[in-house]
């Protein structure tokens, strides 16, 4: 049951890691330009849901459809290519390459897609300006603050103009002020490019930046919109 106009949908996802069932029949759908918060207690399977949706992890059962294509039928190379070109990612920490400068980090996805260094860095810089981190362009991630680092990560996630941005606890390592600034810039940027955002978080104030909320409990998802 794919809701009309959805960009990315998942149906009846199951995923078992050894003895633990991470997902047990989870559903999901998101429209272009929509920000959907995925909430739920720790260990409820929300990160696993994000990993499945993004084609990082293969579900044991269930279907994922992105833009009419079945993700579950794709091979690793096709999934990687999809992630490179259509998806963007922001994680809680440890995602920036410590040796590269912030600018080079932001340019990295473009370069992985085969862009020339100059072109990639030019585009990267506009995104850094947009996320107000152009002042750390030549610094290494270790020399930037946590909030700056996360914004660099957001810029990197958006630099390829992805159609879906996956953000897994993007503010998890930040204080509330920095966290909110990151969320504001992230959602503004995503809305301006009509990118859908899958936002995994356990902070309600972060979730408040979303349009809609999904709660994952014991591996099952619940669309809160339908309750109200």
């Amino acid at each position: 049951m794919t809701p009309a106009g959805s960009l990315l949908t998942a149906d009846g996802l199951r995923k078992v890691y050894g003895p633990t069932t991470a997902l047990d029949g989870a559903d999901f759908s998101i429209h272009p330009g929509e920000v959907v918060a995925v909430m739920g207690p720790s260990g409820s399977g929300k990160s696993t849901l994000l990993h499945c949706l993004a084609g990082i992890v293969r579900p044991d059962a269930g279907e994922i459809t992105y833009n009419g294509q079945r993700l579950t039928g794709m091979n690793d190379a096709a999934l990687s290519a999809l992630r490179r070109s259509e998806f963007g990612f922001v994680f809680q920490f440890g995602q920036l390459v410590p040796e590269l400068t912030c600018l080079e980090n932001v340019a990295l996805p473009l370069r992985l897609n085969g862009a020339k260094r100059k072109d990639a860095e030019r585009t990267a810089l506009t995104w850094m300006e947009r996320l107000e981190v152009d002042d750390v362009r030549d610094k290494r991630p270790g020399q930037a603050s946590g909030g700056q680092g996360q914004r660099v990560a957001v810029a990197r996630a958006l630099v390829t103009s992805p159609r879906v941005l996956f953000a897994d606890e993007p503010t998890g390592a930040l204080d509330s002020l920095n966290g909110e600034r990151v969320m504001e810039l992230l959602t503004d940027a995503a809305r301006s490019t009509n990118a859908a955002v899958v936002l995994v978080t356990h902070e309600t104030r972060v979730a408040a930046y979303s349009d809609r909320e999904i709660v994952v409990r014991d591996g099952k998802s619940r669309d809160m919109e339908r309750l109200v």
């Binding site: 992890v57 490179r84 998806f87 990612f89 994680f91 440890g94 040796e99 992985l112 290494r140 270790g142």
Partner: protein
């Protein structure tokens, strides 16, 4: 990774009890070292992995050092046994009176494919002959004693022909270890009842002799010192790296200790304790590895090197030195490596703005080394003084060690300028820009080994090529020279007949030959007495050497080669109707005293002069040629029977068939392959040894590079998983791992080859030899490439594992 922290948090609260930093001095040292050891043991799986890595690394190094420390003893023992079995007369030249214990001995040796087999033929004069060591009873006529390795070779599937060669002899026993230089030595004793002095035998009363202590050849000393430096410096560097294995994780653990109140010095001492434990365990492992290798070297033989385990005994002094130096240096290396790191309670702070490495003092070492070498006079084998030898060794050592110290600067300077390039390249170079120290240190080991190997090989190559150019014989033709000290026409004929029948023989030319001179007084004492070769052989043999026309037994000929100078020289002696002297020694020369009786013989008047044609080997014969009917072979003094055999290179083992045929005729016949085998073999083994050493070093270094690569991958599990998430191809990451290894290795090899060539040129100049081979480094480059490939390939499984999305799961 490097984190920037402003200040360490002040300790919270005060503990009334004395904290962990209470005592000072030796007691603090002891306590903290002990604590470090406890961490090394009790650090859980992680701690053990680190300790074991260090211990194995140090152990390998220690085993090599112990091996090196055993070499002097090993060589001395081999020499001792070699001397002990040498017939006593062979070295003194004195006559031994025949007695109950005396015996006649003669060297008989043979080659089998690429193995040399040495042996003695013995005949007892009395009932109680002296015996060489390792021999229980004198072999009777037709009996043979052989070494175990020779027995194995003869019984192996590849030894059939060798067995046939000695089919006339009954193997009655085995030579004991005391009579062998190494367990894999091929050696035999033959018994005889007909051996006589005429066969070239010596009479001896005993085996072994007192050898006067001979000073080492100065050139050899230089070589030995260099080889030690080349092979052992990387081992030391490797031990240094092994002690640092897992350092990053350890630093984080230590930071936790700082949080509970350990001070900076205490933390360093604890780290030293951990390293010390790893090193001590390494010593134990090293001893185990060494003992294992010691047993192994008696069984296997790699590159023709084998030794009795009992010979492999490290010099006690050196062993003690190793046992002390390794733990002490492990502590020192740890303390030095911690200098650049501040372990604070909240984490590890690496000095991110590391001091730029300075070039000048690094250049000082190799420059000083080369200058010392250039300022030395050429070393001649006889005139070298000890002082010079050590100066040269010091110069070479300085150069090599200097190259190693140059390495970190070179890597830093080279990668600092690298910008852009494809993503994997960028990742690799950036990584190296941030921390090139580890890679550079590991590679500097390669640098020393390769530079040394290049220089030494150049030296050996030029010495070798000089041997090549001074020899008249052309080694390109597979050719056997069969020689018997007995002069006999019948023997010559038998050789010709038997060898012709041998599989794979294309041509045989057999004759008895000697040198004859023109008798009488010379015009001036400075003149050379006209001499020419006189050969006795059949008309059939002659036809192969010259255009004869008619020939019957009793004829004699003068053979001209077509070279006018040579022909004139021949004609001075060979004058038909005039006398020649068949005992050339009876006339002496301007330097040589005359010896023995004259043996005049008249060259018949009817002697014709004919011109030669190429013999089976392609040479032109010139001199006097006499058929057996015209001369009594017995009158020829110092004659020998000789056959030149040309074999078909396409028939494998043709040479072995000839040797077998020869041994069946007479075991004392010497079959000599004109190929300069001795020198070729010696050179090849030196070259092989050097390359093997350099490659073994590279393997060690590869191991340490692999460990640090794996460590680094493990540390970046999360980052790698994140990179996978946004679609990074595995191949991109694999390439970055490859470049990260390749860049320092290529730089190191480049430096090593440049430095090695420079050192080689200087050393060739010192021994006054031209450089003959500039490309000796090519195999080492190939080995370097293989090293990069191996390290990359072996880290791929870990990389794949790290690139799985599991790394993203933080819960």
């Amino acid at each position: 990774m490097s984190t920037t922290r402003t200040k360490p948090a002040p300790p919270v609260g005060t503990d009334p009890r004395p904290g962990p930093t209470g005592p000072t001095g030796a007691r603090a040292w002891l306590r903290d070292l002990g604590m470090g050891i406890r961490f090394a043991v009790g650090g859980g799986r992680e701690g053990w992995v680190r300790t074991i890595l260090t211990a194995v690394g140090v152990g390998l190094g220690v085993a090599l050092l112990l091996g090196a420390a055993s070499v002097p003893d090993l060589l001395a023992n081999r020499d001792d046994r070699s001397i002990a079995r040498t017939p006593a007369a062979a070295m003194s030249g004195k006559q031994t009176q025949r007695g109950d214990s005396t015996l006649l001995v003669v060297d008989t040796r043979t080659d089998y494919r690429d193995s040399e087999i040495s042996g003695l033929m013995m005949r007892a004069d009395g009932d109680h002959p002296a015996l060489p060591p390792g021999v229980g009873t004198m072999p009777e006529a037709g009996e043979m004693l052989i070494s175990p390795a020779l027995r194995d070779l003869m019984n192996s599937s590849g030894g059939k022909l060798l067995k046939e060669r000695f089919a006339d002899y009954r193997i009655t026993g085995t030579i004991g270890d005391a009579g062998l230089m190494s367990p894999k030595e091929l050696f035999y004793y033959l018994g005889s009842d007909s051996l006589s002095k005429a066969d070239g035998a010596h009479r001896v009363a005993s085996f072994g002799f007192d050898q006067p202590a001979e000073p080492l050849d100065p050139l050899l000393v230089v070589l030995v010192v260099l080889i030690c430096v080349v092979l052992l410096t990387p081992v030391l560097i490797f031990i240094g790296t092994a002690v640092r294995f897992g350092g990053d994780r350890r630093d984080q653990r230590l930071a936790a200790l700082r949080l509970v109140g350990a001070d900076r010095r205490a933390v360093r001492r604890i780290a030293a304790g951990e390293a010390l434990f790893g090193a001590l365990l390494g010593l134990v492992l090293g001893a185990v590895f060494f003992l294992g290798a010691r047993q192994l070297i008696g069984v296997v033989d790699i590159w023709k090197v084998s030794a009795f385990p009992s010979d492999m005994t490290p010099l006690p002094g050196l062993a003690v030195l190793i046992m002390l130096a390794v733990p002490v240096s492990s502590v020192l290396v740890t303390l030095i490596s911690l200098r650049a790191v501040a372990i604070e309670p909240l984490g590890v702070v690496r000095s991110t703005t590391a001091r730029k490495r300075r070039l000048w003092w690094r250049l000082l070492l190799p420059a000083a080394g080369l200058l010392i070498l250039l300022s030395q006079d050429q070393v001649t084998r006889t005139g070298g003084e000890d002082v010079e030898v050590y100066t040269i060794a010091a110069g070479a050592t300085l150069t090599l060690v200097g190259l190693a110290t140059l390495m970190p600067w070179l890597v830093e300077a080279a990668v600092a300028r690298l910008r852009g390039g494809p993503v994997p390249w960028q990742l690799a170079t950036r990584r190296l820009q941030l921390s090139s120290g580890t890679a550079a240190r590991a590679v500097s080991g390669i640098t020393v080994a390769v530079a040394g190997a290049v220089a030494l090989q150049m030296l050996f190559a030029s010495m070798h090529s000089e041997f090549n150019t001074t020899t008249d014989q052309d080694p390109r033709r597979a050719q056997l020279n069969v020689h018997s000290p007995r002069a006999s026409g019948a023997l010559a004929q038998r050789m010709i007949d038997d060898f012709r029948a041998v599989q794979g023989v294309k041509g045989v030319n057999g004759r008895v030959s000697s040198y004859v001179v023109k008798p009488g007084k010379l015009k001036s004492t400075d003149d050379m007495r006209p001499t020419t070769e006189l050969s006795v052989g059949s008309c059939a043999t002659l036809r192969e050497l010259a255009r004869v026309g008619s020939c019957k037994d009793g004829d004699a000929f003068v053979v001209h080669s077509g070279d006018r100078e040579l022909d004139k020289w021949v004609d001075q002696t060979a004058r038909p109707g005039q006398k020649v002297d068949l005992n050339s020694e009876s006339w002496g020369d301007f330097e040589v005293k005359a010896r023995g009786k004259h043996a005049p013989w008249t060259l018949p008047k009817s002697t014709r002069t004919i011109s030669s044609r190429p013999d089976p080997v392609g040479d032109h014969y010139y001199g006097i040629y006499v058929t057996p009917g015209a001369i009594d072979v017995a009158k020829l003094a110092d004659a020998s029977t000789e056959a030149l055999v040309q074999t078909d290179p396409k028939v494998p083992d043709a040479e072995e068939y000839v040797r077998n045929a020869a041994t069946h005729i007479d075991p004392l016949i010497d079959v000599y392959t004109i190929r300069m085998i001795e020198r070729d073999k010696q050179y090849a083994s030196v070259q092989k040894g050097l390359q093997a050493g350099a490659i073994a070093t590279m393997l060690l270094i590869a191991a340490s590079m692999l460990v640090s690569t794996l460590e680094q991958l493990r540390e970046r599990k999360r980052l790698l998983a994140a990179l996978t998430a946004f679609g990074t191809r595995r191949s991109s990451m694999a390439w970055s791992v490859l470049w990260q290894t390749a860049v320092p290795v290529v730089l190191g090899l480049g430096l090593a080859i440049t430095g090695g060539l420079a050192l080689g040129v200087v050393m060739c100049r010192m021994v006054e030899k031209p450089v003959s081979d500039w490309l000796v480094f090519l195999p080492l480059c190939a080995a370097g490439a293989a090293l990069v490939a191996v390290v990359t390939l072996l880290s791929l499984p870990a990389l794949w594992r790290m690139m799985r999305p599991d790394g993203l799961r933080t819960e």
